[in-house]
């Protein structure tokens, strides 16, 4: 008995040490690569934010209202108008745009990486078997954990924020692209092949178009996850609305925290409904 007890208490697998060793090793050996990634992401996110901020707020707000009215409904257009007024009224326009830029920038990168991985998964059972557990890992790991290596590799600010967001938000895009392609009916695939499609043509002309609603659902999910992560990423200085919330917490300022939170909610509803409208079948009856 005592031996077994000793065994259990003596057993020591230093996973934590290994991970920090690995992180140190990457940091000291891949400085160039890390800097490259950092610069590229900084370029995308900064330009996006600068671009959005360069547009006069009123014009941009009206554009968003118009988009909401066109893609969703005039009722939703009114909702968008009220949201814009609230955001102006709470004086969080700058923060909202900063968050929006970070969400769109990191989502775009997540999709750019995630959709091709999803396609590869759909076409190969081996790739699927390898990628699936990685996705499970990425999705169940508490999102705060991503902040640590992101901060170590890329310092503080928007870039580590965007990278942590990218990692956290990518899985649904991968999963739903894979699922969408695999759900294309066998007869559609056979029809494609029977008329002489190459593998490439089959993908572009049959599988992707038929998987589009599912892929768009993945895009929507990725954007929503990115929004939630961007708020958390304010802890490593990503800025934006998350920063407002964080300041509210630090100062125990309920009002400020609520304003930041409300801004996130409004932005979430707008992004959700508008991106969903692109996944819906454009033609009815």
């Amino acid at each position: 008995m005592t031996d077994e007890g000793n065994f259990i208490t003596n057993i020591d697998i230093p996973i934590g040490e290994w991970v920090s060793d690995a992180v140190d090793w990457i940091q000291s050996n891949f400085t160039g690569v890390l800097d490259g990634i950092s610069e590229a992401i900084k370029f995308v996110v900064d330009n996006f934010e600068d671009g959005l901020l360069a547009i006069p707020p009123l014009v941009l707000a009206l554009l968003i209202v118009a988009l909401a009215a066109w893609r969703v409904s005039w009722k939703f257009g009114i909702f968008a108008l009220v949201s814009m007024l609230l955001i102006f009224g709470m004086d969080i326009w700058q923060e909202t745009i900063s968050t929006l830029a970070l969400v769109i920038g990191s989502s775009a990168l997540a999709l750019l990486i995630g959709i091709p991985i999803g396609i590869a998964m759909a076409r190969s059972d081996i790739v699927e078997a390898v990628v699936r557990p990685v996705l499970d890992f990425m999705q169940t790991m508490p999102p705060f954990v991503y902040l640590i290596p992101a901060a170590i590799f890329f310092g503080l600010g928007k870039v580590p924020g965007a990278i942590a967001t990218l990692v956290f938000a990518m899985p649904p895009a991968v999963r739903l692209t894979n699922l969408g392609i695999r759900q294309v009916s066998a007869e559609h695939v056979e029809a494609g092949l029977a008329f002489g499609c190459t593998r490439h043509q089959l993908l572009l002309k049959v599988q992707l178009p038929l998987a589009l609603p599912s892929i768009m659902a993945g895009v929507n999910q990725t954007i929503m996850l990115a929004l939630s992560m961007v708020v958390i990423a304010s802890m490593i200085g990503a800025g934006g609305l998350g920063n407002t919330v964080l300041t509210g917490i630090q100062r125990l300022n309920v009002g400020l925290g609520f304003e930041g939170g409300l801004g996130v909610v409004l932005l979430a509803i707008l992004l959700d409904r508008i991106t969903q409208s692109f996944g819906r079948k454009r033609r009815t009856g």
């Binding site: 007869e187 559609h188 029977a194 008329f195 002489g196 002309k205 049959v206 178009p209 038929l210 033609r283």
Partner: protein
Amino acid sequence: MPVNGNGDGKDKLVVENLYKIFGPDPDEALRLLEQGLSKDEIFERTRTTVGVQNADFSIRDGEVFVVMGLSGSGKSTLVRLLNRLIEPTRGRVLLDGRDITAMGRKELIHMRREHMSMVFQSFALLPHKTVAENAAFGLDVAGVSRDEQRKRALKALETVGLGQYGDSYPDELSGGMKQRVGLARALATDASILLMDEAFSALDPLIRTEMQDELVRLQQREAHTVVFISHDLDEAIRIGDRIAIMDGGAIVQIGTPEEIVTNPANEYVRSFFYGVDVSKVFTAAEIAEQDVLMVFERPGTNVRAALAQLRDRKRNTAVVIDAAGQYRGMVSQHSLARALDSPGETRWDDAFLKGIEPAPEDMDLSDVLSLVAASEHPVPVLAKGGRYLGIVNKTILLQTLDKAG
């Protein structure tokens, strides 16, 4: 029976000892098959499914070849082996003498684009493309120019009666119309072989019959070689020049619809006929018999002599034909006697029975039935051009129906 044998009878597709085994151990399954084990026994032992075993037949140029069987009989697998949507385990498929099973990827893709097209049970149209774009799918894939694609797609749509619907979307069409688009897509590539996998099974019965007739008509106009998969014997008989019946992955009988109906190879084949409408199987020419006295219309045989002949043989009616074998009319003892009684020179024309409506040779039995029922005399059957082939009377009809039922 449709008479669409408008090809020259040359072999178009030759299938030689074709096997498809699904599962982990095809070699072992083949070995057991050679030992004569059944499909079920092999599955029991090796967890391997025999899809198609030893298919060996040829399909002639321009014929409609129907492969029939219950679900699980391997007919859908067989048709997919022809264009290699499913890879054969063993055996060869020759198209115009070229071995499809030995083709490399590029050659195979070329063959599918140029020579074989396919129609699917569930239509398999692309919902995001217009009807014309769907019909042009095969051409698009083959890299044909946009203008040419549209031109040929619209022509194919015209052929199936959907010329007006080019810019509609599939979800605006009914099931029957969707399958016409499927057919147009297959026709647009000018492939010489059409593979049709239960193509009409998802349609309601009325539309299905309409599509079957349409296919036969189309087939008569421009001879395609059609391989048609079906589980419906009525359909097979309606459109097939020849029918292959499959059971457990093997082909149990191949023959014309008449051969199969009159001489089924085994109980399985026979079981298909319960409830089949035999009146669609036979045509007038096939049941016509020369069971009636023939009188030749020529100098020397006059009306009086004919009457004497009829009385002599104790027959009531006779068919009158000329020296070239052309049908002239029918006479009875009564009509001959009456013609002789009338004043003046007696001519054959006066002696012919009135109201006799001859049946054309390809008339369905069901239509012959109503002719015979309406007439008190036997009904003569004529070839195209008027040559006399034989007669059908009530006795012959009843015998035919009894035999087939």
